[in-house]
Amino acid sequence: MAKRSAPEVNAGSMADIAFLLLIFFLVTTTIETDSGLNRKLPPIDDTEQEDVIIKEKNIFQLNVNRNNDLFLKTGGEEKVIQIKDLRNAAVTFLDNGGGTGPDACKRCQGKKNPRSSDNFDKAIISLQNDRATKYETYIAVQNEIIAAYNELRNREFQKSFPNLELNFVEAEKRYSDPRTPSAEKAKLKDKLEEIKILIPQKFSEAEPKKSN
């Protein structure tokens, strides 16, 4: 009959329970890394291939030996190079634009050295490892080469589409972001393709040498 107030639940131990759970999740959490360098492997092709003749000046030949030293052979000279100088060397090589006539490169801003690459499309970076090369060094070299390509692609993307206020890497990130609306994606796709065709990543990896 009389209105009885319900007894209050004692919430004093709530904090303890929550702490217990919190500590459990803190201990079990591992923040997984899920980013890295995307690459594509060449398919195995058993058919006979014609040898393509490539001018020596268009090859930027890198060789990493078992002591993780880097040798560079390009434009008729061979030298030991430090990894920190590799990005600039690769940009200089790709951007050289030494071609004439049909091979002339309109958008290259390099020195037009006739002993270095003709244009973006002709320039090839080749990498050869030793089997005893450290993975860490290999990743650093890969990273620097991708960085060199990205640097040029950023520049050309901004030059071609200045009103987007994005560079190539940002545009690509936006393109692969699932939250970007599909209308914008379609627009970005064409532009990204255009730059990728202008500056293709011609990067070849030779089979590593055995070191005994």
Binding site: F19, F25, D34, G36, K134
Partner: protein, 161 residues
């Protein structure tokens, strides 16, 4: 005299802890949401190298993981100190990779198979010989999209020179 004493020992108001559970719960929810339960127990050292030109791997369900590195201290006595491959929860040889890829492909819907990416989680100290063998096996089974999983950071920082 006693007057002063009384004032000094005036009881401090207790700190109100009523909102403590709320704060703790907030933290708890953050960690619950951010937690990813590991699928594989790592039996190898896996200290990933650094790189700064990274792209994000989205769609976790379309990624196959291949781990490689030196066996961790518990397994050193049985498996030695040479870098090895780990697939799922056990050590594997290079020639087991095609079977692993086939099993992963069989577990996915058919239309998703072309989008499958292989993530190589390799310890920085591993030798390139092992990686090359892995890549060769992947080429044989036509799993060409790969991703060298790295930590985000300056690529040159770990190198000695």
């Amino acid at each position: 005299m006693s007057k002063f004493k009384k004032k000094k020992s005036g009881d401090m108001p207790a700190v109100n802890t009523a909102s403590l559970p709320d704060i703790v719960f907030m933290l708890l929810f953050f960690f619950m949401v951010a937690t990813v339960m590991r699928q594989n127990t790592l039996m190898i050292d896996n200290n990933l190298p650094f790189a700064d030109q990274v792209e994000k791997l989205d769609k976790k369900d379309l990624v196959m993981y291949i781990y490689a590195g030196k066996p961790s201290s518990n397994y050193k006595s049985t498996y030695g100190t040479e870098a090895r491959i780990q697939l799922n929860d056990k050590f594997a040889e290079v020639n087991e990779i095609p079977a692993f890829i086939a099993a992963e492909r069989a577990s996915k819907r058919e239309e998703l198979i072309p989008f499958l990416t292989t993530a190589l989680k390799v310890d920085s100290d591993a030798n390139m010989g092992l990686i090359t063998d892995i890549k060769q096996e992947l080429r044989k089974v036509n799993a060409l999209k790969i991703n060298y999983t790295t930590k985000k950071g300056n690529a040159l920082q770990g190198l000695k020179k």
